[in-house]
Symmetry: C2
Subunit: 453 residues, 2 copies
């Protein structure tokens, strides 16, 4: 049944992933041809500089700086350049010429996804991007196809390996943030400019892509509430440990029911209405460092690994786990998409586009409901706890646990750690502001959300 067709494959970019993709296309050509039902001919590799050093030894005659010419006449275009331009222009050109596109470009999809998917739909070509989220872990295809008949309620997980490596080092070896970052940089987990990872942009791009798929709604990077790990200190991690938690940078994509539905909130629920955060069915997409119970499977995701939980109405809880990055690992995801695109070429028919859009509104962060852990530095004197409890009570935030650590030194300052019941973020934010303004509170040390329970 093997059709001895030959498909021309153009590769744009030969960085750590691109080099491995080229290497595998060249060295495993026979196996890939058998799987795809056609020879996958690597027609060329577009690079900025043909003389730059590469991770893999690539035939020099395949390298070119002329991406435009390479793209024309290709059946499948693999874009692994990263960044917005010229990647966007090349992908649109490829689609317009009828080629299927495989990309791992999360930044592009999270900002220009609508334009790219619309173009693909118009010409009947396909855009595949398994490599854009969670490296080698198959998560895009399960969401797009396997769960297409289900109703996804929530996705949450660890989708940035660099920050997980850092937080894991801090947690397991008691390192400071600076020390952990230095090691991450040395081992290649962090780029020269680490802000994309540390400030949560990379995770937010992935969250936007996952939420778009899960909720059939176009979610862009700017729709994602984003907090990075810059503010996470060794003290916070130690405090989390004492309370039975670990701090992980989480991406959370959540479907919020229309107001009035029972969301399990205790206290402060109606507060949302006052602040304009009430509303109908909506989605929340957010990235922040959060507390996870040490007995939760996500707590055991170490180093640069990724794991994604999916809660679906019918399927229940699913987990996907594996390597979140790495040139070779991510190349596996790229080649899976390439073989699938080749099969579609052989089978004929138009590409199956992104599913039609429900366009659920994005909820403001104030509308989300979680448990919180608030750490305060207070004067170590009688009556302080009563004052703080009073402020929380007035705000309708219900306290689950309080732990006071007496002053350890001559400062006369104690720490109070308050665990709340489930509350609206808006109510919580107001409360934290009032606590901060109170004369008995020296400093709000940290406010962390608790996820995964």
């Amino acid at each position: 049944m093997i059709d001895h067709r030959r498909l021309r494959v153009a590769l744009l970019g030969a960085g750590s992933v691109g080099s491995q993709v080229a290497h595998l296309l060249l060295t495993q050509a026979e196996e890939l041809a058998e799987r795809a039902g056609a020879d996958l001919e690597l027609a060329g590799i577009a690079v900025r500089d043909v003389d730059a050093p590469r991770d893999a030894d690539l035939p020099r005659e395949l390298l070119t700086t002329d991406a435009e010419t390479l793209i024309l006449g290709s059946d499948i275009v693999i874009e692994l350049m990263g960044g917005i331009e010229p990647a966007r222009t090349h992908i649109l050109a490829a689609l317009s010429s009828g080629a299927d596109v495989v990309t791992g470009n999360k930044a592009l999809l999270a900002t220009h996804g609508a334009e790219i998917f619309d173009t693909a739909d118009q010409v009947g070509a396909s855009v595949s991007y398994e490599a854009a989220v969670a490296g080698a872990i198959p998560i895009i295809r399960p969401l797009k196809d396997s769960l297409a008949g289900d109703r996804i309620k929530r996705i949450f997980g660890i989708v940035n390996g660099s920050t997980n490596f850092i937080l894991d080092k801090m947690d397991r070896e008691g390192l400071s943030a600076a020390e952990a970052q230095r090691i991450a940089t040395e081992l290649g987990y962090l780029e020269a400019d680490p802000t994309l990872d540390l400030e949560g942009y990379d995770a937010a791009q992935k969250a936007a892509i996952l939420a778009s798929l899960a909720f059939h709604t176009r979610v862009s990077l700017e729709d994602v509430h984003r907090e990075g790990i810059e503010s996470v200190t060794a003290d916070m991690i130690e405090g989390a440990r004492r309370a039975g938690f670990v701090i992980k940078l989480l991406a959370v994509c959540e479907r919020l029911d229309a107001d009035g539905a029972d969301d399990g909130t205790v206290g402060g629920a109606e507060d949302g209405t006052e602040h304009g955060t009430a509303g109908g069915e909506a989605i929340s997409v957010r990235v922040y460092p959060a507390l996870i119970g040490r007995d939760h499977p996500l707590a055991t995701v170490h180093g640069g690994n990724n794991a994604v939980f999916v809660e679906a109405a019918a399927a229940g809880d699913l987990m996907f786990y594996g390597a979140g990055a790495g040139g070779l690992q991510t190349a596996s995801a790229v080649l899976g998409d390439v073989v699938s695109a080749a099969r579609r070429h052989i089978a004929g028919g138009v590409g199956v586009g992104e599913s039609p859009r429900q366009s659920l509104p994005i909820a403001p962060i104030g509308r989300i409901v979680t448990r919180y852990q608030i750490t305060l530095e207070v004067a170590d004197e009688p009556g302080v706890l009563a004052r703080i409890a009073g402020i929380l009570s007035e705000a309708g935030v219900s306290v689950a646990t309080v732990e006071q650590t007496p002053s350890q030194d001559a400062t006369g300052r104690a720490h109070i750690v308050i665990g709340t019941h489930r509350a609206r973020e808006q109510a919580l934010g107001d409360t934290v502001a009032r606590l901060g303004a109170s004369d008995v509170v020296e400093r709000v040390v940290s406010v962390l959300r608790v996820e995964g329970e």
Copy 2:
């Protein structure tokens, strides 16, 4: 872009999964139509007895006993009857009429897969079967598509929820096998005839399907080495616990390198040659109760849940986890396949068949290499351990750990637990036979393989 096409969907079978599929098709018609790009009209539900009680309230006018007529003129046929006939005949009829088929019938695919996939290829229709393995967990599509460009080395996991429930009950509550089985039956984890689960047939069917996909080779039920959990006693589970293990019924699909390749064997490696178990590249597919370290993620898979590990050359280690059974959960997998099949109908083109076959030979069980734990009942007298160590040494099986528990009672019998280094199954089997024949050994209590390390 919504095409207001209407696709006729025929459902065969209205058991626990079928009822839920029908219910979701009827109650979430609008959402499914949006996802699929076409209305999915449930044209009818073929059942044996229209008056039988159902899990869900289904419109009586949709029920029919005439499956043949229902199939004709349908675009998508969902087969959830189970069993070989008449399911096989109906699926072949559906494919021949050009319909796409969605099935959860592992028994049929594991025995008549070749006939069904060949028929689908000939007519250009598709057969989808995500529901056949690991319930709601997306594992078929990731193997077929996402990992299509990778080289899978090994799959192992817990794919039978009923036996996992029983073993987990025994492990966590110290119950006997009979007690745990009684509870499993009461809670609906075991059928009236539990042999399919207990003797490992169900897991073996799933292993055959996974191995077929992973190794691009047709693997049938009879190719699978199968041992059930009938012989697992509370004593064995307690012994495993003391040694830091848990006993799980595992399905293992493994690619074996050609002989001469370094397989990490210590001792007994060349023994295989003598026994005709040597050879070229081959695959091993097997189901048996095995020891898993308590710190391995599979050890934490409780109750009726399933988890599948995949080791791929490029992607590294991946894990998929979720509900292994349940009518509603499995219905999610069925509907994902239905929506995907509908999209293909809209897109046009022929179905993408099973990928071409490599036809790797099936290795005899004697060729596999693992660690073993052998428990012997011996006379509690001097020199016994030396005699046993001698027998192992002669056979070339290298001992890693030995633990002797002195006689606890008047029988004068002690237990010796031997942990071996990695050895060939063939060498091990010979050794166990020699141990059993030795006059110092009263009884071979158990021989268990150690997996996941």
